[in-house]
């Protein structure tokens, strides 16, 4: 996912939740980001600050804590499990960039290291998830 899209989606969702729960100050947002998203945290931080400053969001957001969730892939053919980084070392730069924008593109470029099947499941390590929002009214 693109860092700017992520920043915007976080700002919109936090604002909506803050409004629904009457929160004026958000002390902490706990965010889980899958490793496959390959988010550049520096760019994300800059994007989030810019998004929050560009509009009157009406909320104070103090801290965003990001936990990167390691990837786990499993072959649906032979059951072999592996990590994204184990198979990603041989990828070209444009292929890893494609996976950054669209993590499902991994299905186009990765194969099971054990049997070579392209039919694998991403057990964890993709997607973005707001685990919790802490604040006060």
């Amino acid at each position: 996912m693109h860092e700017w899209a992520l920043a915007e989606s976080i700002a919109i969702t936090v604002r909506k939740e803050a409004f629904q729960h009457n929160l004026k100050r958000i002390a902490r947002v706990n965010l889980q980001i899958g490793e496959l998203q390959q988010i550049d945290l520096e760019v994300f931080g800059f994007a989030l600050e810019s998004v929050l400053q560009s509009q009157d969001w009406g909320i104070e957001l103090e801290t965003v804590v990001v936990e990167t969730v390691r990837s786990a892939l499993q072959c649906r053919n032979c059951g072999h499990r592996w990590l994204y980084n184990d198979g990603a070392s041989g990828l070209e730069e444009k292929q890893t960039e494609a996976i950054h924008f669209l993590p499902e593109a991994a299905h186009a470029y990765l194969k099971c290291p054990a049997c070579g099947s392209p039919d694998f499941a991403i057990l964890q390590g993709r997607g973005v998830w707001i685990e919790s929002i802490e604040g006060e009214g």
């Binding site: 996912m1 693109h2 700017w4 899209a5 992520l6 915007e8 989606s9 976080i10 919109i12 969702t13 909506k16 994007a47 494609a98 996976i99 924008f101 669209l102 993590p103 499902e104 593109a105 299905h107 186009a108 470029y109 392209p118 039919d119 694998f120 499941a121 991403i122 993709r126 997607g127 973005v128 998830w129 707001i130």
Partner: protein, 251 residues
């Protein structure tokens, strides 16, 4: 909670109408109708985007001859412009590689593409839908709240039956339908026996002949627009322009 769907509303906010070209069956010309309809609307002066959502078998880039120029990255992805259209497809990420997508992969990919693509202001966004009533259809209906459907069918009892099932699903999900177009007709002077059955449900927008010149025009937008296929499809455009599905044709 997944924050990604929240940004999709903003991404589509500048688009006046979102039209999904569907029809249930494979091989009935949905992608050709979507591509050429986008071209026709563009040449009429509308600002048009074309989004290929057939993730397993994208083909609109081949139909139109879209070059492999990747989207520009600027606070998201700006779709490349080609033949007057803004174009987005999974091929920018997967190239010509086969993709073994399953249900959750499709849901994630549809969400991600809608969240990162910066269409900006458009009069029409045409979505080329995959065959079937599966994950992509359900996800798009869930994520894109204000969309209309255009149904493509062919003169065949099987295709008509599948189209009816899709119309029934769209009715249950309260998705408006502009109407249906009958493609690949061998005799455009005679309505197919299946057509009136569908017309009881949604408006009939016209018929397109089986056009043998379409195949040789593939990959060339200027030739496509000169085909009989395009000329007959264009006759359905005034009805599409005039329809105000979101208020009057809600099933």
């Amino acid at each position: 909670m997944d924050p990604r769907p929240s940004v999709i509303v903003r991404r589509l906010a500048g688009i006046r109408r979102i039209l999904a070209v569907s029809g249930g069956k494979g091989g009935i010309g949905k992608s050709s109708v979507a591509s050429v309809l986008a071209l026709i609307l563009s040449r009429k002066g509308y600002r048009v985007g074309l989004l290929d959502l057939d993730l397993a078998g994208p083909s609109t880039h081949m139909i139109l001859g879209v070059p492999a120029t990747p989207p520009i990255e600027d606070k998201g992805l700006i779709p490349p412009e080609f033949a007057g259209l803004r174009f987005m497809s999974v091929i920018y990420f997967t190239g010509d590689h086969p993709t073994a997508f399953r249900g959750s992969d499709i849901s994630n990919a549809v969400t991600e593409i809608l969240a990162i693509t910066l269409w900006n202001a458009l009069d029409f966004l045409i979505m080329d839908m995959p065959p079937g009533l599966g994950d992509t259809t359900l996800d798009v209906i869930r994520l894109v709240r204000r969309m209309e459907y255009l149904i493509v069918t062919v003169p065949s009892a099987i295709a008509a039956q599948v189209a009816k099932k899709e119309l029934s699903l769209l009715r249950q999900l309260h998705v408006p339908v502009v109407g249906f177009i009958e493609n690949m007709s061998r005799n455009i002077r005679v309505r197919s026996p299946f057509s009136p059955d569908l017309e009881c449900i949604v408006p009939y927008l016209g018929v397109i002949p089986y056009d043998t010149t379409l195949e040789v025009a593939l990959g060339d937008a200027d030739r496509l627009i000169e085909t009989d296929f395009s000329r007959h499809l264009e006759r359905a455009v005034p009805a599409i322009e005039a329809s105000n599905c979101l208020s009057s044709l809600r099933l």
